[in-house]
Symmetry: C2
Subunit: 228 residues, 2 copies
Amino acid sequence: MSDQTAGAVVLLSGGMDSTVLLHHVARTQNPSPLISLSFSYGQRHSKELADAEWQAARVGVDEHRVTPIEFIGELVSAGTTLVYGGAAVPDLDDVTKDALSQPPTYVPNRNMMLLSIAAAFAEARDIHDVYYGAQAHDEYGYWDCTAEFLERINNVLSLNRRKAVTIHAPFVADKKASLVRMGMEMGVDFERTWSCYRGGDQPCATCPTCVERRNAFAEAGFDDPLCG
Amino acid sequence: MSDQTAGAVVLLSGGMDSTVLLHHVARTQNPSPLISLSFSYGQRHSKELADAEWQAARVGVDEHRVTPIEFIGELVSAGTTLVYGGAAVPDLDDVTKDALSQPPTYVPNRNMMLLSIAAAFAEARDIHDVYYGAQAHDEYGYWDCTAEFLERINNVLSLNRRKAVTIHAPFVADKKASLVRMGMEMGVDFERTWSCYRGGDQPCATCPTCVERRNAFAEAGFDDPLCG
């Protein structure tokens, strides 16, 4: 049997949820090594990746990795607006009730792909624990952000005979406003987190994630330093 | 709800198991569309991909796709000998008892990655059914080729609220020799299937997969047209 270290891999998109998660894991677990893992997949918003790198440096991770998975854009382009070249991102007002049960920015099977890649990486490095920033605010209906999804992913990974990686989503029952509060307590610089699904220089303030973010800050009693 | 077509996606590596599977699915299901999906990941043996393309044309698939996932080589290079640049592939004789429970050509979490990508692609195309060629000959201990693994992967995918893709592995209880017989009955040209893990012009005949393949043909009572 291989030795297992007490390291951790944290999926870091550069959005606010995973950024708060990275700070939280560093502070509460102090893993060694602590590795942040981002993915480039032709996002409309490459600022997200720049912010991820900035936050990784701020936390002082042992390694920050950006894994290129651009193939996803071409592979599932029929199914999402989230990658460059896809359809336009709609405003929240334009999102109908039916669409809310699966948002236009949904990427088919995205989290299973990303988590399986993260688990492969962790396994290759003899790391046991992978963290991702799913939270309870799933108004937009991502089936792959739920506690049940997480449990079933771990049921697959637990079959690994040598090094069973476990995926943790410590915020899966928390609201987005709680993450704002937690981040503020830890001194997270939210100006360096990116949520907007559109590719502009400033957040658009009208796409579904911008609206969610604004509401979360308002509920937590703070101004969003980025677009408050 | 989106309409679901009766199409199928078949994972096609260019090896003998998935080649027999492609012929089998075409003949027994006659799906429309029938799409074969290969992955390029810096294999030592690119002949495999050429054979996959040849077999796809032979079967007359509606679409053959090669998805580039070279990132896997770099991401998990510490954990496998299977990609170009990794350690040398050992002969079967050099593989110790302990290593047999997880072979040196094992790629960390490979099948979960590949199946999740295939499921994403199928979902984006409104296709319900994905086939892969896992078979019972798991002497070398791939935890991600078992019926239980398959069942748990489908437990994850079944959470999808709109288009739950199902992964099928119709050969999961069959021995490799049965696949040889089945392929022979269907007229599969085994000369255009590639199994060797080494990168030579001809199969090495000594690596674990070459030995498995030779034994399967012998057990089925045939000569392997490739290296028989």
